[in-house]
């Protein structure tokens, strides 16, 4: 059987993992190392292979190639019930024929750990549900069930706790509350958490390290701030928040912008400066970007200063008010659609639909990408083979059995 309680979280290492299902490849040659004790988020759109990765770690799926190591031990061929890993399932999967306390004590009893009910009650106290320990899961609300699922996994003190979109079914307010709760539980118990989600805000609020996954591979990995401020690829720039992206030829590189060296990109007749250290490529055709909240709107043409980029004039095509900020859409001839988030403060220009505006931003806020944005239709057609394959995979998942 599995070892006893883990003293602390363990490292998780994936080496050259490939997973193929009949007809498509879910994960292609994935290498990943998650240090012990961290809160790690795997972020990606549905069908990107993140849930498959989690299932491989849990042992519910066998990799086609590659190795999985937990705390340095190769567990690739270890059965799921012998791995020091517990999962909080997306559907919670609480046993409907058992009371809450029996659900929580299930893992402890299977391992023959002393005083399973005492420990189960402690775990329920941690999620503040001890008073409902004799209820059946289906008598609890969605949020309560989620907490029971968490207690049922945490009580085993696994080296690794896997969370498969556990907050997906909750409403926004409960979600926020649970995010904070999860984070504090992780601090309290000090285990390694691996969290799979498609919600970028959730990943950024909760995780120390975020890995953005796309099409079975990791696009970029790092601290949330790092990923947000300096995305390396167009996918990351658009999946993690919004970005204004421009593509053009590099006209000069190494030119001075104050102290730092920068590259200058010619886009639509204007020249845009990006610090060299914030650009992935320094020559040829490159895509550069800037976050919408970094842009400043001007109702008259601002003076061109060193250290700023100015574009304009353009016309406001859409204004949407969202409480703390207002989102402006403008069309800049030669640049296409540009999005600007402006804080709703007492000062600053308030512009109306159709107004003529200029935008400017600090050169230091721009970033240069490794690739170009794909020209993708807004909605993926759902008759293409990739979607059918993804659907087939989902169906397959539902049918997969133990072992």
């Amino acid at each position: 059987m599995a070892a006893g309680f883990a003293e602390a979280g363990a490292d998780l290492e994936l080496v050259g993992i490939t997973k193929r299902f009949p007809g498509f490849t879910a994960i292609e040659d994935l290498d990943l190392r998650i240090p012990a004790g961290s809160f790690f988020a795997l972020l990606g759109p549905s069908g990107c292979g993140k849930t498959t990765t989690l299932r491989l770690v849990a042992g519910l799926e066998q990799p086609t190639a590659g190795r999985i190591l937990i705390g340095g031990r190769d567990v690739t061929n270890v059965k799921p019930y012998q791995r020091p890993v517990n999962t909080v399932f997306q559907s919670y999967a609480l046993f409907p024929h058992m009371s809450v306390i029996n659900n929580v004590a299930f893992g402890l009893r299977r391992r023959g750990i002393a005083d399973p009910y005492g420990k189960a009650h402690e775990a329920l106290q941690l999620v503040e549900l001890d008073h409902l320990s004799n209820r059946r899961p289906q008598q609890l609300s969605g949020g309560q069930q989620q907490r029971v699922a968490l207690a049922r996994a945490v009580v085993n003190r696994p080296s690794l706790l896997l969370l498969d979109e556990p907050l997906g079914a909750l409403d926004l307010k409960l979600r926020r509350q649970m995010q904070l709760e999860l984070k504090s539980i992780q601090n309290e118990v000090g285990l390694t958490f691996v969290h799979v989600t498609h919600d970028q805000e959730e990943a950024m609020t909760m995780a120390d390290t975020v890995a953005v996954m796309n099409k079975g591979a990791i696009e970029q990995m790092g601290a949330p701030e790092e990923l947000y401020e300096l995305p390396r690829t167009a996918f990351v720039a658009n999946f993690l928040g919004q970005s204004n992206l421009f593509t053009g030829e590099v006209t000069s590189s190494g030119g001075p912008t104050g102290a730092a060296a920068s590259i200058v990109v010619a886009v639509g007749g204007a020249k845009i400066e990006v610090p060299s250290e914030r650009a992935q490529r320094h020559s040829g055709r490159v895509t550069i970007g800037v976050r919408p909240e970094k842009l400043v709107l001007h109702s008259s043409q601002p003076k061109k200063e060193a250290g700023t980029n100015v574009l304009g004039p353009g016309r406001i095509t859409d204004v949407s008010f969202s409480g703390v900020s207002t989102q402006y859409q403008l069309v800049l001839p030669g640049f296409g659609l540009v999005t600007v988030f402006a804080q709703n403060m007492v000062f600053g220009p308030v512009v109306n639909l159709g107004a003529e505006v200029w935008v400017s931003w600090n050169v230091d806020h721009g970033f240069g990408l490794l690739d170009e944005p794909e020209v993708a239709p807004k909605f993926e057609p759902d008759t293409d083979t990739a979607t059918i394959a993804a659907q087939a995979r989902r169906e397959l998942m539902a049918e997969i059995e133990e072992g």
Binding site: L60, K79, Y81, A93, F95, P96, N156, I400, E402
Partner: protein, 304 residues
């Protein structure tokens, strides 16, 4: 009511608010009328008959109203072995039918989920025996197990059966026949609950350190308990009153007579209606008590 187990094979019962509207009562009427006419009336008649006594100096089969508990006493005096055999054979048949049906239902309901066509074919095969009359099928088994059959001669030459041994007319053949005849009744309800089994619970079990065997006993079996309870009831109740398999003209002999055979012969052959009625009432009472106890201990809590 405990008998709800018979009807519902679901794990989670819908708790829709109970509304007694006029329309609902109206819709219930045909069912109530049916029960009154074809269940309650015969039942009362049966109970009344069970305490009748023979008409003095009357013909065979002539009885009059009385309060004659002698009929019940007679069961205790002469027919306890038949009762015991009925119970024992029915329990054995239920046990073996469960042993055969559960893996079968598991295969059709869980393993074959990926191939709905195969599922349909297998289910059809399970109920296929119903296309042939119950009596014919039982007679066919009698032929297969008869003393001059290939099966018996092979068993004899292998010394599994003594050279003068029989298959028909033994406990074995009766239990075999009962098991065979009730397998569909056991398989279908179990299939119905396994077909809906959410495999994610099994994954959760293996994630929580339960071996496949442990997951089976602690997750799969409890979640299919409604099907098991319905299946065992649908097998045990009719099997304990069965009078075909154990009769001498089919798979049984005088030594294997069950209470059903006695009731049948008393009703139809020797026309001792009160004793037969008393036996029927007693059998019914025993079954009701057994089944209620069974459902109370196994079912309700897990059925929820």
């Amino acid at each position: 009511m405990a008998f709800a187990a018979l009807g519902s094979a679901t794990g989670t019962a819908d708790r829709t608010p109970l509304k007694t509207s006029r329309v609902a009562m109206l819709l219930l009427l045909p069912g109530l009328a049916y029960l009154l006419l074809f269940f309650l009336t015969p039942l009362v008649s049966l109970v009344v008959t069970s305490v009748e006594q023979p008409v003095p100096f009357g013909d065979v089969g002539q009885f009059q109203l009385a309060f004659n508990l002698q009929n019940y006493a007679e069961i205790g005096l002469h027919y306890l072995p038949h009762f015991a055999r009925a119970g024992l054979f029915a329990i054995l048949a239920t046990f073996f039918a469960l042993l055969i049906s559960y893996p079968l239902a598991y295969f059709i309901g869980v393993k074959a989920r990926r191939w709905p066509a195969l599922q349909a074919v297998l289910l059809t095969l399970v109920i296929a025996p119903f296309f042939v009359s119950f009596l014919l099928r039982t007679l066919a088994w009698k032929a297969i197990m008869s003393d001059d059959s290939t099966l018996v001669s092979v068993l004899r030459s292998l010394s599994i059966l003594p050279s003068d041994g029989h298959l028909t007319g033994t406990w074995f053949s009766v239990v075999f026949g009962l098991t065979y005849n009730f397998i569909p009744f056991m398989t279908l309800p179990i299939y119905a609950s396994l077909e809906r089994l959410d495999l994610r619970y099994l994954e959760a079990g293996s994630d929580l350190y339960a071996s496949p065997a442990s997951t089976f006993w602690r997750v799969t079996v409890p979640l299919s308990a409604p099907g098991i309870v319905s299946g065992t009831l649908l097998t045990f109740i009719p099997a304990s009153g069965d009078y075909i398999n154990a009769s001498s003209s089919f798979l049984g002999s005088v030594q294997t007579q069950m209470i059903g055979n006695v009731i049948q012969s008393k009703f139809l052959e020797t026309e001792q209606y009160p004793t037969a009625a008393a036996m029927s009432v007693a059998l019914m009472a025993v079954i009701v008590v057994l089944v209620a106890g069974y459902v109370a201990t196994t079912g309700t809590e897990d059925l929820l």
